[in-house]
Symmetry: C2
Subunit: 162 residues, 2 copies
């Protein structure tokens, strides 16, 4: 598996930073379950943060099994071949962030700047932040351009992106 | 869980028919893995069809465990609250379609009409059709508008859609 050049690394960083919605795969009674979530990546791509409700299936799944996968794709622009749409699969482990965590206040500010309509979730007791620590990634930059990436390579892409 | 009215059923049918890309959740070494696939729904929504390569991780996953989940979402249009984007989670079982299957020729024609750029996959020995027989669905029509659907209700939505 080849290394990414600077332009490819920057395109991965732009994809992760520009999209707002990811497909989250959780384990539900031994089978995969995929749902849509909003997310915010840490600046260094070490983790993704979610703000989810304990009432949602995916949160209940995470409480039973921390293994998750997320796919982030460029939105379909109607191009002739949708197989050429850049997308990345991320895998990692989910952990709930306690409200007393020192990272809570800055993350809340960052989250509200990105998702102002979610302010109501900070009034509701069933919502909390979860952090997905990333173990690896698989970036499909285009047809036949697939890169398997370690956390160090993700961090490199985070620095390469503007 | 309330029943869908006709307009909601039609919006689900339009979502499944208009989108081209789904997030496919498979089981990989006991953990979820989410990747992007193009799909074509059967007219009656009994199943989704994929055309995938044996060289791809998701196909190798399906050969080990047939449980899958797919999420299909309206593309993010930049609206204030992305949580209001309609999306559906489908769950079911995957099975490879043998080339000798009588359904192969009409499906190939339908697939090429939808994805003309995929013609090359019919020249390659590693690609085949897989059919995902749907067991249930969870449709989020908007904020707080979630519907759990049986195969019969999916078939009803397929008829409701124009």
């Amino acid at each position: 598996m080849r290394a990414m050049d600077a332009a490819t690394a920057a395109s991965l960083a732009a994809l992760i930073r520009k999209q707002r919605v990811a497909a989250l795969g959780t384990l539900r009674e031994g089978a995969p379950n995929v749902s849509l979530v909003t997310y915010l990546a840490a600046a260094n791509f070490s983790c993704l943060r979610l703000r989810i409700s304990r009432l949602a299936w995916h949160t209940q799944d995470l409480q039973c099994d921390a293994h998750v996968s997320l796919a982030i794709a460029q939105t379909d622009d109607g191009r002739a071949d949708p197989q050429t749409l850049p997308r990345v699969t991320l895998r990692g482990s989910a952990a709930e962030m306690p409200e007393g965590d020192p990272a809570f206040a800055p993350l809340k500010a960052e989250w509200l700047a990105r998702f102002p309509e979610s302010a109501v979730t900070f009034e509701l007791a069933d919502f909390s932040f979860w952090s997905i620590t990333l173990r690896d990634a698989r970036f499909v930059a285009g047809l036949g351009r697939t890169y398997n990436l370690s956390p160090a390579e993700l961090a490199h892409a985070a620095r390469a992106g503007g």
